[in-house]
């Protein structure tokens, strides 16, 4: 797994927002909205023979589907295809090594927390997880409810772990979400917290206005993601852990 940078890009201790496809495509929807709202451009892409042989066309230009967009101070990690289970370890490891080399000062992963009762919930709640004392303090300062016990599974779990090994503060923000449908409402909840933590000021209303359109467009990515998640044991997040302390 390699990360290929565009020529001439400079980095100045960037903050990183990761939104790879996962439960309810919460992170993918949120980061796509951040990219569109802030007009972020590609700075790097992931290269590996473990990805399916897929390229994306945007305005007639051939583009890699798993990319990093952003600027000197803000980077966004996104994918237009489901992440195959076999890619999770090498991708998380390559990403964190690269971020460490760029002097990343905070990594924020965005995802959904599967909520069977989602249909009855108006405004999904957001929970936070931190990998270091510094990240936990940040969540508490910003008034985010911290998940203190439980399992987390998926690429963000590995990103948090590898960041911890490299002493990079990382947090995951998870919103109550439909497990198997794209959930722009959950993405809006998580985006509100991102705005508070990073001071981004990205409009949440404009995301909610195009919720139906997003849900229709994201059906195929959701189907692929659902099948990939079934293979990585995502169900374990719903189990009760037996822990001795």
């Amino acid at each position: 797994m390699k990360i290929i940078e565009k020529d001439g890009v400079k980095f100045s201790n960037p903050v990183v927002v990761e939104g790879l496809p996962d439960i309810g495509l919460v992170g993918a929807i949120a980061v796509t909205h951040i990219v569109e709202s802030l007009g972020l451009e590609e700075v790097a892409h992931f290269e590996s023979h473990l990805f399916p042989p897929i390229m994306v066309m945007h305005k007639g230009v051939l583009t890699d589907p798993v990319r990093i967009l952003g600027n000197e101070k803000l980077l966004v990690v996104t994918s237009e295809i489901a992440i195959p289970p076999i890619v999770i370890y090498p991708l998380a490891s390559a990403l964190v090594d690269w971020l460490s080399a760029k002097g990343a000062r905070l990594v924020v992963s965005l995802t959904g927390f599967p909520e069977q009762n989602r249909l009855e919930i108006d405004k999904p709640l957001v929970f936070g997880i931190g990998n270091l004392e510094q990240s936990l303090n940040l969540l508490k300062e910003k008034g985010v409810e911290v998940m203190s016990e439980g399992f987390i599974a998926g690429i963000y779990a590995l990103i948090m772990k590898y960041c911890m090994l490299k002493k990079i503060p990382a947090i995951t923000l998870m919103a109550q979400s439909f497990p198997n449908y794209p959930d722009p409402g959950a993405a809006a909840s998580v985006l509100q917290v991102v705005n508070t933590i990073l001071g981004l000021n990205v409009s949440v209303d404009s995301l909610l206005e195009k919720a139906d359109e997003i849900k229709i467009k994201a059906r195929d990515l959701m189907r692929q993601t659902r099948s990939a998640l079934e293979r990585v044991g995502k169900v374990s997040e719903q189990q009760i852990p037996l822990m001795y302390r």
């Binding site: 897929i54 449908y181 794209p182 849900k215 229709i216 059906r219 189907r223 692929q224 099948s227």
Partner: protein, 130 residues
Amino acid sequence: MGWIADLLDEIEGAIKPSWDSADRCLEPLVEIENRENEIIVTVDLPCVEKKEDISLEVSEDALEIRAALKRAIKWERWGVVQKNIEFTAFKKVVILPEKVKPEEATAIFKRGVLKVRLPKARRKFTLKIS
């Protein structure tokens, strides 16, 4: 060689169309929950405004859903074939994992999600232990 099978699944998933160009219909996302006494089918129907726009046909072993979109959808910037098609409805036939009693089925439509409850046809008796 499990990873090859996985890779082929990925590719198949990526290229299998989720629309029917002849019928101008999109395929909705569907979830099937097989409970002890009933099967619950939920269907994500964005862009469908009201329950009157949805038609449901239930038999013992299948549920057919058709729902009109509040406006036609066209992807002008995407693809080659599909960019010229206007999609006007969702359509899906769900094959049920067990036989159900169609006459006792119920449905609700809330926040763009259709939820259909289908009681199972299988009869159960409580046995007394002597």
